[in-house]
């Protein structure tokens, strides 16, 4: 299965509103689970996909016809309770409300659900990105002023 087929598959699942899907075909095993508003695609052996608009297809490597070992391999282990906050738009990342003011949050901060974490700006539209859960900011993944893509991970939060 190549990148394009995978993308079509995901689009088909979204269109039909299928929440969970598993496929084993030859060397490739694909498991896709759509959890609420987020979709998590876990594919073995070598590619991970996150939702992306048609204009910016994700750039994960195409699967390499695997060895027996690769087939058994599952997605990289994700630490229990970790969650990433993604950008809903293409734009520029700002860590603070205005230049020179302190950042909304930094690693180690405890945040509440609904607390503003950053601003993503596109075309003078300022998008306040809120935390969708209470927890601790483990990592900030982008630098102030950096351009970001749709769906790009911005923060990792450990659920409280």
């Amino acid at each position: 299965m190549n990148q394009k087929e995978l993308k079509e598959l995901i689009e088909f699942l979204i269109e039909k509103d299928i929440a969970e899907f598993e496929l084993e075909r030859g060397d490739v095993k694909v498991r896709i689970k759509r959890a609420g508003e987020h979709m998590v695609a876990v594919a073995a052996p070598h590619f991970a996909v996150h939702p992306a608009p048609p204009a910016t297809p994700s750039t994960g490597a195409a699967p390499v016809p695997g060895t027996q070992a690769a087939v058994k391999e599952t997605a990289p282990p994700v630490e229990e309770g970790l969650h990433s906050v993604r950008s809903p738009i293409v734009g520029t990342f700002y860590e603070s409300p205005s230049p020179g003011s302190p950042p909304f949050v930094k690693a180690g901060d405890l945040v509440e659900a609904g607390q503003v974490l950053c601003i993503v700006e596109a075309m003078k539209l300022m998008n306040e990105i809120e935390s969708d859960m209470a927890g601790e900011i483990v990592k900030k993944l982008v630098a102030n002023g950096q351009p970001i893509e749709y769906g790009q991970e911005l923060f990792v939060i450990r659920r409280k």
Binding site: H38, P88, V90, G91, S98, L125
Partner: protein, 335 residues
């Protein structure tokens, strides 16, 4: 300052409805359902706000001239059939109407809520830019929208808002030639007179609310020296005073039109991008600097399919996401 006492608007409206006669304090008191001493207090407040009311408690009151205040009582009747007529909030003085609207939206203000101020003490632009918002000479207006669209589809509203202001000005005075500068500054003869700041609160796939804030320089007769080469007002550009009430009503009507298009018509984006391209003189072949991502310089090459500005640089074609775009040679770009 708190929201304007709605009774102030009713007193003005009552006097305006009887513009040629003196209205007794007793009549005003009974119409509004308050005491005569309260009427006196409200009249004094209106006078402090610059409304020209003649008379005193013994003789009754009359309006000496129609005040150009953006009161809900004046605007609502002009906005029938739009989403903006039902929840108009007016302030004589506030920090920023966008701030008011974002706060109200997060606590449930309905779509179409409008926040207007005669004066802002902390009018904002991009980043740390301020918007000069002197009393009763500009329009400082923020609206709450709740489009049922994914956030990526809402970006185009930023361009549509600029088109809406342009249409409103041409509705009031078709002789004014307004130029759009990407993404949504409005210029007359290369000087800015209107700025728009849009704020959104969204999840990855769903928009909770959007606030579009519009600041228009209407009747400023002068600007501080540091702004004189950069800023203008409709009065300075046309030589005559404008009715802020008429312009504000025209603005909310055209904004209503553009917004409905975005939420109801799947092809709205194409139409907006095409119209924007037709009405902006700096979108093609103009040398610009962009203060984004380290800063770069190049020649504009139109919009991409999402509405982002394309700039041809020495290092290839670059997409401007959010930066301020400055024309390197404003005077050479004209016809």
């Amino acid at each position: 300052m708190p929201q304007t006492d709605a009774r102030l608007g009713r007193v003005v409206r009552l006097l305006a409805d009887h513009a040629t006669v003196v209205v007794s304090g007793t009549k005003i008191a009974s119409e509004i359902g308050i005491g005569r001493s309260e009427v006196w207090r409200l009249v004094q407040q209106l006078r402090e706000l610059g409304v020209n009311i003649g008379g005193h408690p013994a003789t009754g009151y009359s309006l000496k001239s129609m005040p150009d205040l953006l009161l809900p009582d004046f605007l609502a009747p002009l906005l029938h059939g739009t989403i903006f007529g039902k929840n108009i909030h007016h302030y004589y003085k506030t920090g920023s109407t966008n701030h008011l609207a974002m706060d109200a939206a997060s606590t449930g203000a309905p779509e179409g809520s409008v926040f207007l101020a005669e004066q802002q003490t902390a009018g904002r632009g991009r980043g740390d830019h301020v918007w000069q918002s002197a009393r009763s000479v500009g329009i400082y207006c923020s609206v709450v929208l709740r489009p049922a669209l994914p956030p990526s589809e809402v970006l185009v509203l930023s361009l549509a808002a600029g088109l809406a202001v342009q249409a409103a000005i041409e509705d009031v005075d078709p002789r004014v030639k307004v130029d759009l500068k990407w993404p949504n500054d409005l210029l007359i003869e290369n000087k800015k007179f209107c700025g728009i700041l849009t704020e959104m609160n969204a999840e990855v796939t769903r928009v909770r609310h959007v606030v579009v804030g519009i600041g228009i320089n209407v009747n400023q007769a002068t600007f501080p020296p540091e702004l004189q080469g950069l800023a203008t007002s409709l009065r300075l550009a046309t030589g005559s005073e404008w009715s802020r009430v008429d312009l504000c009503a025209a603005l909310l009507k055209s904004l209503d039109r553009e917004y409905r298009e975005v939420v109801e018509n799947a092809n709205a984006r194409e139409s907006i991008l095409r119209r924007f391209s037709e009405r902006s003189s700096s979108l093609q072949g103009v040398r610009v600097t962009v203060d984004e991502n380290g800063g770069f310089e190049g020649i504009t090459e139109g919009l991409d399919s999402r509405g982002f500005l394309q700039v041809r640089t020495a290092a290839g074609l670059r997409t401007v996401l959010s930066g301020t775009v400055r024309n390197c040679n404003a005077y050479a770009s004209g016809p």
